[in-house]
Amino acid sequence: MDLLGILLGGFAAGMVLFVVSVGLSVTMGLMGFVNLAHGGFAMLGGYVIVLAMKGWGLSFFPALAVGFVAIAALSVLLERTLYARLYRASELDQVLFTIGLVFIMISSMTLAIGPETQVLQLPEWLRGQVDLGVIRYRTYSVAMIVFGVALVVALWLGFERTTLGARIRAAVDNRRMAASLGVDVGRLFTVTFAIGSGLAAVGAGLGAEILGLDPQYPLRYLAYFLIVVAVGGLGRVTGVFYAALLIGVLDFVLKIYFPKGGTIFIYALTLILLLWRPQGLFGKRGA
């Protein structure tokens, strides 16, 4: 395991973090809603993907699509019926509500499927290793990196080059001003919430090899998702991308060199970064 190999592993882990947390950053930036249940949507999506492949015999990509659609639909349903009531509520109520939601998701999955870890059946072409010229590496990790980069490019284009993206950026920067210019922020939020949750579902399914997948998933990685979002800055897609890579690589490297207490550095780093720039590394001051 030389340096390049370690870096690649870290990048792959970072990509998973990015795919799962990017939606959280955008929805938090839009509404200022503290959604601790985001990891819960990811976990449910991961289950849908894994079980669709195992139970219905779907192949990899259709299963990912099914996971995306199912979780996007579920999140729209919850957003319209429950989340929408709490937009004006205090942070504390939002925290309580979403923690409660996480508990419900965890326990219902434990009751319905069981507490054991779910294994993702990778398609043939993702197993084994691939020759990158300088190094042979796991095809799966390389594919994760390719997917993550493709996603960040697509999201960047979507944000910078489409009307929807322009509306989202406007609403993140100044919700009231955007609303008074005729942007339907509520509708916008529903759409981004659905896309964000769907992406989280795909991320959990894709990343099941790296992060694992069991009912405790949302709580185990809650701090990581939040750290990525807080460090990256609210509503900043590229910021979240860099933050996820940073945290992913650091976590991967530290777990190899300091298996006992590696995470302490991540928390310390987050503490220092947030004290230095409370709005996140890439967030706008005063946003």
Binding site: V34, L86, L92, G100, I104, A223, L226, V229, L274, L275
Partner: protein, 330 residues
């Protein structure tokens, strides 16, 4: 004064009501009525004190924290390490040492953390707690690492009452007295002008700045006192249970005490009592037998509380009382 009902209400708020004696009467009565459940009772008392300390910052100062267990754990580990390594096992001075250590951590972290708010503050409190947890995990030579420190022993309380390993009788009364003193402190604080200032910060930060109130200083002082009190609760936990482990510092404990306080009703002193008793009773009876169903029920309750009963159980009681009063009045 006669023409100012609001001033009357303000002046009368801090007066002792007859029902305020009830928790303490019940606390003493429980000692005689349930001699076999005093270990559980002690746990309830410790949790009430912990929730009360959280109420000071969350309910009165409006600081939303996810990391209050940091101070509980700091106090718990302080008395544990003092007893284990230095042979300092005198309980009362142990409580003082725990308050000092936790209060210092609260002061230092409060000075830095309380400049932020919202998500950043949430994350910073969470990270502070995680740092302490990891430190306790890594410093195994001092803290016992993952296994903690089992089988601690503590001296007699006031040199008179030995800890009662079998029935928890002395532990229960000890915790009851400490809780009572802690409660008096918190009650005095929240009805003082200092406490009024805290409530002002919670309700309208801008206006408090505008009238020239020392907002930061007030918040930091409240945070420090609350941390010290949480430290005392943690120390009580270690002393009465005679062990300490990593669970005192975890997210689960921090989230648990938050849930307890919200269930009971925050910003109202007695919410901590109602919440802790109810939560621990349910946990004690349900969680062991049906852990998954317990978690499901807890989740449903939290969602319902956040959506429909933001002031907790005592808030519901208040609303019912008002409705009853309106109904019985002509």
């Amino acid at each position: 004064m006669s023409g100012l009902p609001a001033a009357h209400a303000m002046a009368a708020r801090h007066r002792l009501q007859w029902w305020e004696a009830l928790p303490w009467v019940a606390g003493v009565a429980a000692f005689f009525l349930f001699p076999n459940y005093l270990a559980f009772g002690t746990q309830v008392l410790v949790t009430i004190l912990f929730a009360l300390s959280l109420d000071l910052v969350l309910g009165y100062a409006g600081i939303v924290t996810l990391g209050h267990a940091a101070f509980f754990g700091a106090g718990a580990y302080t008395v544990g390490m003092l007893a284990q390594h230095l042979g300092w096992n005198e309980p009362l001075s142990g409580l003082a040492a725990a308050a000092l250590v936790a209060g210092t951590i609260g002061l230092v972290s409060g000075l830095v953390l309380l400049r932020t708010h919202g998500l950043t503050l949430l994350m910073l409190t969470l990270c502070t707690m995680a740092l302490l947890e990891q430190a306790a995990n890594m410093g195994a030579a001092w803290t016992g690492g993952f296994d903690g420190m089992p089988g601690l022993s503590f001296g007699k309380i006031l040199g008179l009452f030995a800890f009662d390993v079998l029935y928890f009788r002395s532990q229960y009364l000890y915790a009851l007295v400490v809780l009572f003193l802690g409660f008096l402190l918190v009650r005095m604080l929240v009805y003082s002008s200092f406490g009024q200032g805290l409530t002002g910060v919670r309700e309208n930060l801008l206006r408090m700045h505008a009238v020239g109130a020392p907002v930061r200083a007030r918040l930091v002082i409240a945070y420090t006192i609350s941390a010290a009190l949480a430290g005392v609760a943690g120390a009580l936990f270690t002393q009465t249970n005679a062990f300490v482990n990593l669970a005192v510092l975890g997210l689960e404990r921090a989230a648990g005490v938050l849930i307890i306080l919200i269930l009971g009703g925050y910003g109202r002193l007695y919410g901590a009592f109602v919440g802790a008793i109810l939560y621990l009773l349910l946990e004690h009876t349900l969680a062991k037998a049906y852990p998954t169903a317990w978690q499901l029920g807890l989740g449903l309750t939290l969602v319902a509380v956040a959506l429909y009963a933001r002031n907790g159980i005592l808030g519901i009681v208040d609303a019912l009382r008002r409705r009853l009063a309106a109904w019985s009045a002509p």
